[in-house]
Amino acid sequence: MTVSSFTSLLVWLPIGAALVIWVLPLSRYATGSLAVLVSLLEVGIWIEQAARFDFGRGGLQFSQRGAWFQDLHVSYHVGEYGFSLWLVGLTVVAMAACVGYGFWVGRQRPRAYFGLMLFLTGATVGVFVAQDLLLFYAFFEAMLIPLYILVGVWGGPGRMAATVKLLLYTMAGSLLMLAALIVYGLKVGTFDLVDAPPSASRWIFLGFMFAFVIKAPLFPFHGWLPETYREAPPEVTAVLSGVIAKAGTYGMLRIAIAKFPEPTSYYRTLILALAAAALVYGSVLAFRSTDLRGVVAYSSLAQSGLIALGLFSGTSLGLDGAVLQMVAHGLISTSLFLLAGMVERRATTDQFALLGGMARGRPAVATLLMTVGIVSLAVPGSAAFAGEFLILAGAFQRAWWWAAIGAGAIVLAAMYMLRAISGVLHEARGSLVRDEALDLRTGELALVVPLVGVLLALSAWPAGISHHSFARDAPTQAVRGQFK
């Protein structure tokens, strides 16, 4: 097995494991441990890959190309750039934590559940490594299938409506993207993302952007978000907001911005406006949400806006910051939703009205929730701060008011996140917080602490990502060269 096949391995190992799990009649315990093992293996492979990655060199690495069908010049082409490497890392780490959570809470119908989780892992990694438009699209869609069933089967009471919304919204976007990519691919004569020359067609650009804007999501297109995040099982919500949403912003960077320079600059103001709208709107709504998940859900809407702001600022600072922020926020919201799930398991609710006073005598949950919450509101010195600082500095270079809006939104972020933290941890004990509600157990700590650890390590050295995402740390050139 050559080095370059690591990428394919990252994609197909979990999918193969999913098939194995579906086929073999293993016990609940065996199934769960197999799944956890595989997802840890993924992390291991990724670390190995990151260790071998040559950040000095630009261009695609660990790439592998095989025929899919030559008729229309569609190929199986995978590979990684610096930023895709980080996103893949985010995926495998977050998925490992979420699979572990599923194992810890002992989901019903384990074989179906873990199979789907692993399938989701593979598909998501696929999105980040695919270097062929159709392959990218295939993985982009394939992510939805397990999501649909995971939310629909293991979700809350309102899951039916939620799943339908999730699927129809996202498919509406991605189908337009299908049309766009057909037109684009046939026009330029290849579907290979590396070979394909840039295009100036605004319609095609909009087709792609529509999909990404819904996936991310940005302001008016987030109709699917609140319900889904509320109804899905916590670990699935964690994946959704932590990882899946990043597929949208990744697409903006890899396809929309890189392949459509002219339309990007033509629609820049519009998109920046949408992003800013998402940022402010999400913060405002998070500020009034009455439940923990609601706050985190709307805050991740705001975060998507922020990331898009960085991406479309078109400045090196903005791009670096956006990648950093993608990873940081991915870790943050994954751990926040997992913690929300753990709180729900103890108090059977995440309504602030019924919660409160959890900190008293529960140092672990208090410390972790406090830490992650504080990081998420971008307290200076944290990884999120680094990302947001770069993004806003980049946006400032585009025009000062974008940075001003963003800065205002960050103040709002402080307001809603502190409100959420206090609502759960502080003041009088909530009516549903009983004394029997224990502190986090070792198993749960084993899930969240690593995430928080990574987050803190990232806070100590954000340059690790911001400096190693683009070839020779020259994002704008890399984009202009379409990551050749």
Partner: protein, 629 residues
């Protein structure tokens, strides 16, 4: 010396992490002592780097970078510490006073069931404060700036089951976040022009920026400074912050954090000097604050709140000094203020501790009879605060006032205000003193004190009080502007005093005389009104109500910012998010469903309908073909 700086920076952090990770395996006492130790180690580091710097000669401050913290293209701020006169001075103050206060907390917090968390937060705060003062570039300064805000949030809200405490903590954090934001915006300007946040680069950049731009930068910095230092109009969080434990108030909200604004102005004075207008606004802001705070302090009934307002007013003095350009005097007053204000808080803390946490001065009166040493210490602090010779305040405050007099016409205005301030200081300080310490103890005091066991307090509390009492007596002798000024010289290379702020000797004399006289006048009035009760408090109900409501700042902010934001959010959810965004998809779906039902009606099940559609379809196709061909 660099090693000393790193030691100073990292020791408290290490202490915090160690206590966190050990958790319950570490006994409470152990946690307390570990934290204290870490801070004293930091102090040792500070001393080390101080003498190191002395050895090198104070001119060249030196920077050492651990690693590039954040990097994007040519923008690469490192994780670095800066050792120069200004930072070493701050290091000494922070670590020294901090160490004493942490030691004090051992006694004060004894028996609280979350002591460990308290000491983690304390160490974390000291680390953040040191990061703020040692940070080798503006980004690290901002990082420390935010982290002290964070730890002050954590400590104000330490007793998190008190809603008032939690609310106060949030208020403090959000206001400081606003300050951070304006600073960040200022930094964005610098980055946009120089791709760097190093002090040197930024200052040179500020040199050749257009005037408006540099004004904006300075304004942003001033926003941060004002928020942190509780200057009008961003001051409302400080009185509420008194919800925290008293040592916290002493450390954060008197000695160190709140004075960071002054440090910021001194540190970035090149930028401020490019934007003289803004700098003068800072001075004016200080003057306004010292006046208003002094007035409000007159009517407060909570012992800690009175001291808090006096803190605001003293910081007003510092802003005034730094604003008109005599940075050294500002810093000098910062130091002495650290001594005597910490002393006042801790003495008050002893009193409060002695009567089981009661803070209302009307109930406290007469407590001094049981706490003779505390009473004397408090008196020393009070005199230092009023600024009577030979107490510390006299030296630092009067030189600021004098400097004001020297600075052009506006200086004169500031001078007048500052003098008025001294009168108020004397008045409210001794109002407090006379109400609390002397006189017959109230029944309340008596019973609680006996319950308390009759002792004045554990030595861990008394020792720091004593040390600080001494310091607030002699601390000021370090510099007497007309005759000797080692501090000014020491700070010369970093923060040279502007020419406009170099008073002549007659100005010095005049200001000092007036200041002392007015201070004494204030004390006298206080004595007559509160000590002897000869004179009744003048009846000015309107003014009193206004002052008791702290001039309605909170109400105004509530009406201007919080309520509109909240109702906007509520409106958005109710009238936009739910009906429009969340309903859009389902509505479209419903339309499709209606179409489907329509088709369903056509599907009658009658054979002839089906044949009809086949025939009709054929006919239509045929017509089209015949016509088009």
């Amino acid at each position: 010396m660099i090693a000393g700086a790193w030691l100073c920076l990292l020791a408290p952090l290490g202490g915090a992490l160690l206590i966190t990770l050990c958790g319950t395996r570490l006994p409470r006492r152990g946690a307390a002592w570990l934290s204290t130790l870490s801070v004293f180690v930091a102090f040792a580091g500070a001393v080390w780097s101080f003498f190191g710097l002395r050895a090198h000669g104070s001119e060249h401050g030196s920077v050492s970078t651990a690693w590039t913290w954040l990097q994007s293209g040519s923008f690469r701020p490192g994780l670095s510490v800066l050792v120069d006169p200004l930072s070493t001075m701050m290091m000494l103050i922070v670590a020294g006073v901090g160490g004493l206060i942490v030691l004090y907390s051992i006694g004060y917090m004894d028996g609280d069931d979350e002591e460990r968390r308290y000491f983690v937060y304390m160490s974390l705060f000291v680390f953040s404060m040191l990061l703020l003062v040692e940070g080798g570039n503006l980004l690290l300064l901002l990082a420390g700036w935010g982290l002290v805000g964070l730890s002050s949030y954590l400590l104000i809200g330490f007793w998190h089951d008190r809603p008032t405490a939690v609310a106060a903590a949030k208020k403090a954090f959000v206001m400081n976040a606003f300050g951070d934001t304006t600073m960040a915006l200022a930094f964005f300007v610098l980055i946009a022009h120089s791709h760097s946040l190093d002090y040197a680069t930024s200052f040179t950049t500020a040199g050749h920026l257009p005037q408006t731009t540099v004004d904006l930068v300075a304004l942003g910095l001033l926003g941060g400074a004002a928020a942190k230092s509780a200057q009008i109009p961003l001051h409302t969080w400080l009185p509420d912050a008194m919800e925290g434990p008293t040592p916290v108030s002493a450390l954060i909200h008197a000695a160190t954090m709140v004075t960071a604004g002054v440090y910021l102005i001194a540190r970035t004075h090149p930028i401020f000097e490019q934007a003289r207008t803004i700098e003068l606004i800072a001075a004016g802001m200080g003057a306004l604050t010292l006046l208003v705070a002094g007035l409000v302090a007159l009517v407060q009934t909570d012992i800690k709140r009175v001291i808090a307002y006096s803190t605001m007013s003293q910081i007003g003095y510092m802003f005034l000094g730094a604003g008109i350009g005599s940075y050294a005097n500002g810093m000098f007053h910062l130091m002495t203020h650290a001594f005597f204000k910490a002393l006042l808080f801790m003495a008050a803390g002893v009193a409060i501790h002695a009567v089981a946490g009661e803070q209302d001065i009307r109930k406290l009166s007469g407590v001094g009879t049981y706490l003779p040493w505390t009473r004397r210490a408090f008196l020393a602090g009070a005199l230092a605060l009023v600024g009577l010779p030979p107490f510390a305040g006299f030296f630092s405050k009067d030189s600021i006032i004098a400097a004001a007099l020297h600075a052009h016409w506006y200086g004169v205005i500031l001078w007048v205000v500052a003098l008025a301030g001294t009168f108020l200081t004397g008045l409210y300080t001794f109002r407090l003193y006379f109400l609390v310490f002397p006189g017959e103890p109230t029944a309340f005091v008596r019973e609680h004190h006996h319950a308390h066991g009759g002792k004045e307090g554990p030595w861990t509390m008394l020792l720091p009080v004593g040390v600080l009492a001494v310091l607030s007596v002699i601390g000021g002798w370090l510099q007497f502007s007309p005759l000797w000024h080692p501090l000014t010289n020491w700070l010369e290379p970093v923060a040279r005093t502007l020419g406009v702020a170099e008073p002549t000797s007659w100005q010095e004399g005049l200001s000092s005389g007036l200041a002392v006289a007015l201070g004494l006048a204030g004390i006298a009035v206080a004595y007559l009104v509160y000590g002897r009760g000869r004179v009744a408090v003048p009846r000015l109900p309107g003014v009193q109500r206004a002052l008791e409501h702290k001039l309605y700042f909170d109400e105004a902010y509530d009406a201007l910012f919080y309520r509109p934001a909240a109702s906007l959010a509520a409106w958005t959810r109710r009238d936009f998010e739910e009906p429009v965004i969340l309903a859009a998809g389902p509505d479209l779906g419903e339309a499709a469903f209606d179409a489907g039902r329509g088709l369903r009606r056509v599907q009658t099940g009658l054979l002839r309908t089906y044949v009809l559609f086949l025939g009709a379809g054929m006919a239509v196709v045929a017509i089209v073909f015949l016509v088009v061909r």
